[in-house]
Amino acid sequence: MPGEYRPGSREDFDRLYRTAYPRVYRTLSAILSDPEAAEDCAQDAFVQAFQAWKRWRPDAPAEAWVHRIAVNRAISYRRSVKLRSVGQLLRRLGRPAPSVDPAEAATRPDLLTALRSLPPQLAAAIVLRHYHGYNNREIAAALGVSERTVGSRLQQAGERLRAALESPFSLEGPSAFHSEGREHYAED
């Protein structure tokens, strides 16, 4: 079966890598602003998954399982970057802040910037739902939380993301996200 994986099978893991790596990478690129860091975390997640591949149980989709490892890696990475940036900030006290390249600012996708400003768990929930089309159960498996927590995180992430996109520093107007329509998060 094309969608099924056997734990411990090398061929199946290779197939999982080919299928899931781009998707996992894109999820991480919505969490991490550095493409190299996203690649590192995605690769490390697959290394970790490969070492535990024999112990994997098909209770949840294999891609959600890899997503869980990858998101945890990204959370750890962001935490370390935050600690490093605090140190750099302390060293930079009194000096002028580095200027932002206007060309880069003009071409930067505003939505991804807003997503990366969210806590990684919230950004991951948004991407898993709205990009990968996961239901709450799959998101819960991917993030290692309960389905109820997934619902509240999606709600919280949506509100914070909308606030970030409506800020005056946003490059695009908020009209694209203002709609009378409703989309529901079902917790089935």
């Binding site: 890598y17 894109r26 290394v47 203002h178």
Partner: protein, 151 residues
């Protein structure tokens, strides 16, 4: 029962997010899970290989030193090499009788110096040697006699 929640982002959000993320092209570098597995395997074997190499080197050195492949001979050789180290110190003292001969002349020259000591030591010793014995006996009797008397 399924619970529904309001989406604050609107219906156009999913399409926008999809178009943004589809533009992100992953770097298709070679899968790292293929490389580290081999590296971990090599690291697991490394301590055992190092121990075997050290043991072999030690054995070769012992064979070269003793000319025998028998480990019992190696230990005997080690004992004979270490043990003669102590006797070598005593033979060195035997050829040195020339030094003891030189040493005694030094002592007579120093004898005039101890002449001061006998004055100090000899004078108190003959006088004080009987006194402490008497003092102790007297003091002991003096101290001992009152206590039983008091009691």
């Amino acid at each position: 029962m399924p619970r529904t929640e309001r989406d604050p982002l609107g219906p156009g959000f999913a399409g926008r997010l999809r178009s943004e993320l589809d533009r992100v092209q992953p770097a298709w570098s070679s899968p790292r899970y293929l490389g580290p597995a081999r590296r971990f395997g090599a690291w697991r074997v490394a301590p055992a290989a190092l121990a075997i190499a050290l043991t072999g080197l030690l054995g070769l050195t012992a064979f070269a030193a003793t000319g025998s492949a028998n480990p019992a001979v190696w230990t005997e050789r080690v004992v004979t090499v270490i043990h003669p180290a102590a006797p070598t110190a005593t033979p060195e003292s035997t050829p040195s009788p020339t030094q003891p001969q030189a040493a005694p002349p030094v002592q007579p020259t120093e004898k005039p110096e101890p002449s001061d000591r006998p004055e100090q030591t000899s004078s108190p010793q003959p006088i004080e040697s009987p006194e402490p014995g008497d003092d102790h006996s007297d003091s002991g009797s003096n101290l001992a006699s009152p206590t039983p008397g008091d009691r």
